[in-house]
Amino acid sequence: MKSKLKQRIGAVATGVALLGVIVSPVIASAASQSASTTINADVASVISISTGTTVNIALTPTPGGVVSSASDIVSVSTNNTPGYTLNIADSDATTTLTSGSNTFTAASGTKVAPIALTNGTWGFAVATATTGIGTNGFDASYSAETNAGSSTSKWAGIPASGSPMLLKSTTGTATSDTTTVWYAARASTSQANGTYTDTVTYTATTK
């Protein structure tokens, strides 16, 4: 009797043990793994520039000489967060204004040491506080002059194409950021009449 009871208990225990074996693989199936992907979106910096395209200066010379001036507005937009630099230079290696064989020579003044124009010369200028221009000797501000016989405004000669001059350096994005660039010429009656022209190039570059 006892022997049969032991056999039944043994059979039940074996059944439970088997059940345990069967349940155990179900618990093992809950293990998991994960993987990550980094999304990189690189937005390129872009920059655009526009100018007035033409600056017209009219002069009626006198024996002693007179100065006339006019301005150009350079507009720059960029999404570049470090900002941009703006440079100016003649469009070629010849820095004279020409009318046939007659010329205006680029002023001998520089950005650091601009000068009042002498007869037969022309120059450019920006306000001395122009952002990031660096050391300069320009006037605090400029306004249009027309046949001014006693002009004292100070001007720099345009650099040749190979030696552009820094006009502005910013530190943030820009939307139609404007820079006013002034141009002037001085002539006496020995300056032949006519229409003198030259082309300057502005270059805006992201930092």
């Binding site: 910096s45 920059i47 395209t53 009219a58 204004l97 082309t199 805006a204």
Partner: protein, 202 residues
């Protein structure tokens, strides 16, 4: 083994991202834009003319008549590359030299056909112009046998052109001679008239 492949892919992906980032940064630093502006300076043509303002001629008449002359120098400057035109005329419609009611009448010769002065006449001449010829001329003083030729001064409404140039000029001078002829019937006195020079850019 599968885990190692996944890690390998992740590492590989990271390197790709870095490469792209560096390449992108290179593009950013080079972005630029240029614009041109043409600078135009227009120089107006200007001109100036000057004269000594007075020409004085002294004459002591003779019975047959004598000629005296003196010169004026007209100076013109202009920046006009196509030159200028210089004209002269009497300052008004009356072309006589007058001293009260007494006069010298403008000569009848012309620039094209200048002639010797008759008594009580006055005129002008410009060497090298029209019929005056290119022979040098010098002042005459009470010359009883003058053969120099002269033109009569036109009224102000009909100026005569005495010079036309084709380029700029700096103190370009023109010598204009004035001569009178008188005999003893000409009353003494100071006779005057005013002429006007006009320089116009071409």
């Amino acid at each position: 083994m599968g885990v190692w492949r996944k890690r390998g892919l992740l590492v590989s992906g990271s390197l790709s991202s870095l490469v792209l980032t560096f390449a992108s940064a290179a593009v950013v630093s080079g972005a630029s834009s240029s614009g041109n502006t043409t600078i135009t300076v227009t120089i107006a043509d200007v001109i100036s003319v000057s004269t000594p303002s007075t020409v004085s001629i002294s004459l002591t008449p003779t019975t047959g008549g004598a000629v005296s002359s003196a010169s004026d120098t007209v100076t013109v400057s202009t920046n006009n590359t196509t030159g200028y035109t210089l004209t002269l005329a009497d300052a008004d419609a009356t072309t006589t030299l007058a001293s009260g009611s007494n006069t010298f009448t403008a000569h009848t010769g012309t620039q094209t056909t200048p002639t010797a002065l008759a008594n009580a006449r006055w005129g002008y001449r410009v060497v090298g112009l029209g019929g005056f010829g290119a022979t040098a001329y010098s002042a005459e003083t009470n010359n009883n046998s003058s053969t120099s030729t002269w033109a009569g001064m036109p009224a102000n409404a009909s100026p005569n052109t005495i010079k036309t140039t084709a380029t700029t000029a700096t103190n370009d001078t023109t010598t204009v001679w004035y001569g009178v002829r008188a005999n003893t019937s000409q009353p003494g006195g100071a006779y005057t008239g005013t002429i006007t020079y006009t320089a116009v850019t071409n």
